[in-house]
Structure formats: C-alpha cells, structure tokens
Symmetry: C2
Subunit: 242 residues, 2 copies
DNA sequence: ACAAAAGTGTTAGGCGTACACCCATGG
DNA sequence: CCATGGGTGTACGCCTAACACTTTTGT
C-alpha cells in the first residue's frame, strides 16, 4: 500500500447527516477487519500538500461513493491519546505506514437528502449505512465525541442559517413536511398553529398555486423557498429563529 | 536551532484578547526580522506527540510570557496557499528547518484582564503589545483572517456562556463596569435602564452590602457574580442573552 | 358516513425598546 | 451650589405558548 504521499499526522473525519423525509441519520462505515464489526465515521489521512476541504471531499468519496457534498469544518481533535482501543490499534497497523504516529483529525460535517445520493462502500469500508441518530452506536477511536460535536454544531448552524434546512426538502413542499424536518432537527414535537405562524412570517416561503393530489384527506398547499428574498432578508439582518 | 522534535506540519496560533477596563485589545507580537516591522499573532509549530491544548499554552508562554491562560480551540486553517507574502517566506527560511513545508494551523482564543498579567517578549518575538481591536492592523500570513474569526467566535461564545464575561471583572463590580464591558464586546452603546433590567433578572448577579467610596458622585452599589446560582440556572437551560 | 390530515384565531404573559428626571456625593 | 455619574418606571408593540374545531378529500 503506497502511503508515502500521505501526511502521517493529519486526518479528516466526515460527519455526514442525511434526512430521509422522516428522521435524521448519520453516515457510518463498517471497517474491513476480520472477525470484528467496528463502525466508524468515514475518515482518513490527508495527502501532502492537499487542501483540507479537498481532502474531506476525496475521503468521503473514496469510502462511501458520495460526491458533491458541501462539507464544512467544525472542529479539530488533537488529543495525543485519541487512540486507545486495541481493536483500533490493530486496525491501524494493518493499514498505515506509520501506525503509531500521533494524528490530529479535522472534523467536517454536512447534511443532505438521503434520496439524492447513492452510497456504496469502497476502499477500507466494507459497508456504508445510514444510521438513525437517535439510536446510540459505539464507534471507533473518539468518533462518538466527534459525531456528537458535529451534530451539535450543525444544529447551531441551522438556527443561524435556516437555508441549510431548505436544501433538505423538495422544491415544492408542504408545511407538514417542513415541520417534520424541524421536529427531526430539534428532537421534539412542535405546535402546528404556532409553527405555521412563525414560518409564514418569513416572506421567503412563498405559496404556490398548487395542492397535493390523490391524498385521502384535505390536500395541502405547496410552498417553495425563494432564495432571492431570503438573501435580501438576511442582508437586512433580519432573523428567523426556532 | 534544534527543531527536529517539531512536527513540521502542525502549528498553533493564539488569538488572545485583553480587557483593560475600557476596551478590548488583541495580543500581537513583532517579529525579529531585520529592517522590517511585521506584526503577527503569537504562534509556532507543535511538537511531536504534544497535545494541541498544551502546545497552545507553551507557545503563548514562550513568545509573550503569558501563562495560565485558558485558551480554547476555535478553528483550523488549512489552505495550502496560506503563505504568500515574500516577507513571510523570508522569515520562515530564517527560522524553520523545513520552511517550505505545508502547515495547517489550529486557532486558539481566550480573553483575559490585561491587568492580571504581565507580558514580555521572548524567543522570536521582538516586542509584545496589546493592540486595540477597533484599530485595523495588517498582520503576517493569514493572521488577519484568523484574528477576525477568533473574535467573531469568541463573541458568539460569550453570548451563549456569559460566565466568560464575568471573568473580566473584579470580584466586586458595579453595573456601570459590567455595562462598559458589554459595550466593548458588542461594539455599541446600550441603554442604561434596559441594561440594568436585563442583568438584574439574572439571579446570579447578587447585590453586596457595599458601595463605592470616595467618588465625587452618588456611590454605586457593588455586585458579585455567584457561580453556584449561575450553574443551576444553566442546568435548567435558562438563558441570558444580549 | 367515516377516517385522516389540513387549516385557522384568540388570549395572556414575557420581553425588548424608547425615553427623562431626581439622588447622593465630593469639591 | 455645582458637576458627576447612580439610580429609577411606564407604555407600546411583538413574540411565544397554550389550546379545539371545521374543512376537504378518498374510500
């Protein structure tokens, strides 16, 4: 395995969330490691001279097949004793040229619609899967810490920049869909009437002349997200909050 | 200069703010570089096997004499073209074993009372100074970007965790002092009556049986910050906001 | 006619903001 | 008695949160 062109000290871990129209999932890989099932975040060493953002895109793509995902850096993890579990050490020996090297890792996160992307395992990933965030799962290294931090910081970001949320919905969406998404993000239920009032105050959510069809109940109105109005509003430093 | 025990790829830059009872300043160093005045953030390479937090403390102390400052990581800067200015390149050649190496740098920030600490230049710092944040100053490398990001993220942090602000005041303080501090942080003036109302809602600001003395106006009441009440309040997820 | 989800309004309390005058002290 | 900064209250508008019934459609 030719690893001479890797920087042995710097890695990237990708904390990717996916919304499946119902709940939020996190993207995990299962390592190729005989007789053990170890789940981990997709992550690997950065190449010498490679930009961190570029490395994050490459690593995610190599392990999971996901490309064109806009990831953002959220924190760097640099404790020298990040690696302690014997299973992790064994695995590093099997794959790294300098398995004992001290590695600092830069966490990147992103959130996407699971339906818009196909995932398939490759490189040292034996499997890739979407795992519901509400079901705890033990991960390799300090990946539980990294994943939790990544989720907390993404939620903070969505509060400040709700545009992130609208990328998770189809172009036309109902208020029920929007509410389901918000409930998945905040982790609890919201009052329908108050939710609608708050949302419809935002002029960048525009009603369409179109309704649901073939539903066995009163059809819901479709809405769309208007990027231009959104940008103006945020230029004026107006806020839309949870 | 024996630099073999440094990791040539990882550095730390320290963005330290100081409150001098009036305004916020940033800690800068002037490099030892003949015939050029170059200001920069205190920063240097991390040692092999050194924890990032430990490195931040060491580097700050080596360059500026400041110790026991609780710094927090805020962002990692990893663009491969961070270094472009000929003056910066010349300087790296004079000091680094691998001056051409691609370096990613981890930004740390902190805010302290300038009066509680003494600064004195050492190592490759020729001078150390507190520079008012409202006066722009061109810095080496991408340090302007790092400093601005560090300040923005510290402000965000203070909003969420006001305890940071109370570390900048004496144990007994007047509401006027508290307001001056807040005005320095937010960068504009605040209404006295409204400020008091908001602050005194917080039960962790407790009035003392003591007033100012020897002032040529009505003496102000002293208050203190009660850490226990603060912790309870924040456990209950109550908020104190700007 | 029934089931299922859409859609709608009011009230009460808390919070932010704007704004002007009297008070206590030292000199 | 003057200068200086400390200390106080009210009114308005906006937001949040709690809460129940009618409407439209497919079956």
């Amino acid at each position: 395995m030719a690893t001479f062109h890797y920087n042995p000290h710097i890695s990237v871990d990708c904390v990717i969330f996916g919304f499946d129209d119902e709940k939020i999932n996190i993207l995990l890989i299962k390592r190729k490691q005989i007789d053990k099932k170890v789940y981990a975040l997709p992550g690997d060493l950065v190449k010498k001279g490679e930009d961190l953002d570029v490395a994050a895109a490459r690593i995610l793509s190599e392990l999971t097949g996901l490309s064109n995902v806009y990831q953002e850096q959220f924190k760097t993890f640099g404790s020298p004793d990040r690696i302690q579990d014997p299973a992790d050490i064994e695995w590093l020996k099997s794959i790294r040229e300098h398995p004992e090297a001290r590695v600092i890792t830069v966490g990147y996160n992103a959130i996407i619609k699971t339906n818009d992307f196909e995932i398939h395992a490759s490189s040292f990933a034996e499997e890739v899967m979407w795992h519901p965030i509400e079901k705890p799962q033990k991960l390799a290294f300090d990946h539980n810490d990294i994943a939790n931090t990544g989720w907390a910081m993404l939620r903070e970001k969505i509060k400040r920049e709700p545009i992130v949320a609208f990328n998770l919905l189809p172009k036309k969406f109902t208020l029920r869909q929007l509410q389901t998404l918000y409930e998945a993000i905040v982790g609890n239920e919201l009052d329908k009437r108050n939710f609608r009032k708050r949302m419809l105050r935002n002029k960048f959510i525009v009603p369409l002349d179109e309704k649901e069809q073939n539903v066995s109940h009163k059809p819901a109105q479709y809405f769309a997200f208007d990027k231009e109005i959104y940008k103006e509003d945020f230029a004026k430093d107006q806020w839309f909050l949870f």
